[in-house]
Subunit: 423 residues, 2 copies
């Protein structure tokens, strides 16, 4: 790499809200989105909630002159909704579908059927390996009583771990998407602390957009005011995060969000705001201490967030086990009732009632069986994430026992990110 | 790394056949397995089919003086059955659960409930990063009519792709497990061609064990002779595969298998044979052409196996779509029948018959609904794997268009494995 080397990366991110038959003005918004992306000619456009593959195919065709490379991440029953359009050739792709993603019987929420995932595409730009990740985590339907909190924390951990394991040869890491978490939420802190990713909104040298960088704002005509009653300014749940290896400086020169309408002051492109970031990567001159080893003060937020996540997952696991136990009681009672109904059906007087009750009872036993199996699987998934956190915490303890801070950093896996941030 | 550097790695692999209540002499075999592993003190012991977590905990406790590090890979409803015991500290772990793994309604086969996966552990040995993978793919219940072929090929692809993306900083890659594939099966060729892994049985300088390295042999008293009637010598479906980065020589000094009984000529440890390999890694002296770029002759097996896999996945996808369409017809007919039964129940004469038929009909509609959703998801999973293969094939075509072979290798991702093999 030449000393005067520099790479400019213009990135676009949007949760497009593309639910067939349900999302308002979907076709019109898609057309305007395509026009806007063609006009702006970003390096990368990363989208979430493109639920219909036809919508992706439409965009792919429309954008092909400006963005010759495109990828749609297929998963689950409905799909992950994730896709990406790139001006540069995509070298490689892969994806990871989150182990836990809500409950199949919460049909009105629908997340379980989507197969929420993280998609990765590898680009080679100016001699650098750029790993770009796009994701969409489980929605938060109630902040006061969030039954999906443990799942979202497990997803944040899996996302962080997936980035950790797949970006070992990447010079630049970029993560865009709808995390469905506020900046100070547990999962968001866990993700940032474990990966060492920087938040483009917080780091931007020049920011223009909605108040506090919110990505769901009350001024957007598609946003339900009811959903934002606790947050009159809006909420920030969509992110552009980035980092580079030591030896490279990465900085966010500009960061823009739309503000409740499209970039030309027309009606909005989605119920979420679009994010547009310009990142600059350049050679970092040799420094005496180019990547300062984190001392106890720097390391403690990671250890404390790992502990917090461990506890949250434990609570989720207890809940999952309670539901599995409850379902097994229901199965037992249902089977007893079925035996009773068989006995009743043999008598002339109660035959009709017995036969009528047979259907709901069989349904009850089968339904409880499925719920039992589901929660057993849920408990296993949470236990797996907890064991991984436990392992990392164990290594942190070993590092502390070793004493010198120099030993601690590699054990905590902090050596491979956190590059040099250029303000 | 010093020029005279050398690393010796002794590895043990066994599909332990630990189905609670069903596998014969499970407790006795577990005790003998623990004794043997303690006695031999391998660097790594990788096990499959440890379905009961109690069995893992028993082994963990028993082996802790010799193998202080252990990990159990949890997934699915039953579990992945995978675990590992290591003499050396485990730096990091992760796992990937295969998207496709049989059918939930094939309860007697049970694979779907297991959550088959690949587990990764990262070790730091003598300054080298060693990525050790352990896996167990979907079983083959009928070689003549293998309804799981497309799933196993998709699993082999996901396994290869997972290794490809997670081993970019590894000096040595080791894959052990029960692949449920014969050496020349499509999935096995795909895995070896895409990852560049060498087969320890084929490369071993000193081999002792069963005829043709078979890992299920007729001499094993737990093996059903019916299962081996097409293969009187036995079958080879368990593997130790390895590779190293250029600059390192890796070789298999010794390779042993048990031969239908345990290593002390007692009754066998499992229905599979155990594999024991001694791998040597040493510094490779600088060569003029240390990692020869594959020419057309070397590259064509990869392209042809990618095409073959693409076709196989396409057939699986057509089959999945046929089942989804069939299930949707059944739902339609079932709903019509339900309407008819409602009408019949209104009449006095046929009320009892109508009520009696209600239960199986509701079951039919619900069952067909679940089958429909399952096969839609299956088709999506196969489509995803096919798209990934298509992308790699596209890059191969671009590489051929570019002409010089030097351009082709990196595009095909062949630059990062295939190290130097020392015979």
């Amino acid at each position: 790499m030449k000393p005067n080397f520099s790479l400019r990366l213009r990135v676009f991110n949007l949760n497009y809200w593309g639910i067939p038959y349900l999302s308002k003005h979907r076709a019109a918004r898609l057309t305007r989105l395509g026009d806007f992306l063609n006009l702006e000619s970003f390096d990368l456009a990363l989208l979430q909630e493109v639920w219909s593959e036809q919508d992706f195919q439409y965009l792919k065709q429309k954008l092909s002159p400006t963005y010759p490379a495109a990828h749609y991440f297929r998963s689950g029953i409905i799909g992950s909704g994730l896709c990406v359009f790139s001006k540069h050739p995509i070298q490689d792709t892969t994806q990871h579908v989150y182990t836990l993603n809500g409950y199949p019987y919460m049909i009105h929420h629908g997340d379980w059927f989507c197969g929420k995932a993280v998609g990765l595409l590898v680009l080679h730009l100016s001699g650098l390996v750029v790993n770009a990740y796009v994701t969409h985590l489980h929605a938060e339907y109630s902040r006061q009583k969030d039954i999906y909190l443990a799942h979202r924390v497990a997803q944040a951990w899996e996302l962080a771990h997936f980035i950790h394991h797949t970006s070992k040869k990447a010079d630049v890491v970029l993560l865009c998407g709808d995390l469905n978490m506020h900046p100070k939420d547990l999962g968001c802190r866990l993700l940032k602390e474990w990966t060492g990713l920087f938040d483009a909104y917080l780091e931007a040298q020049d920011f223009q957009g909605s108040e506090e960088g919110c990505t769901m704002v009350p001024g957007n005509c598609y946003v339900s005011q009811q959903d934002l009653k606790l947050f009159p300014c809006g909420i920030r749940i969509d992110y552009v995060l980035y980092k580079a290896v030591p030896g490279l400086c990465i900085s966010c020169k500009t960061f823009r969000t739309t503000t409740g309408h499209d970039p030309h002051n027309g009606s909005p492109l989605s119920d979420h705001e679009a994010l547009m970031a310009t990142l600059c990567v350049r050679h970092s001159p040799p420094q005496q201490n180019p990547s300062p080893t984190p001392g106890p003060a720097e390391r403690s937020p990671l250890v404390s967030v790992l502990r917090e996540a461990w506890t949250e997952l434990g609570q989720g696991m207890a809940q999952a086990r309670w539901w599995a136990a409850f379902a097994s009681y229901v199965i037992g009672v249902g089977l007893l009732l079925l035996a009773l109904l068989c006995a009743l059906a043999a008598r002339d007087g109660a035959r009709e009632v017995a036969v009528l009750l047979w259907t709901p009872n069989v349904g009850l036993v089968l339904g409880a069986g499925v719920i039992y199996l589901f929660h057993i699987q849920e408990a296993k998934g949470l236990c797996r994430a907890q064991a991984e956190l436990q392992h990392v915490l164990g290594r942190a303890r070993e590092a502390q026992d070793l004493g010198p801070e120099l030993e601690a950093a590699p054990l905590l896996g902090l050596q491979e990110g956190n590059g040099v941030k250029d303000q």
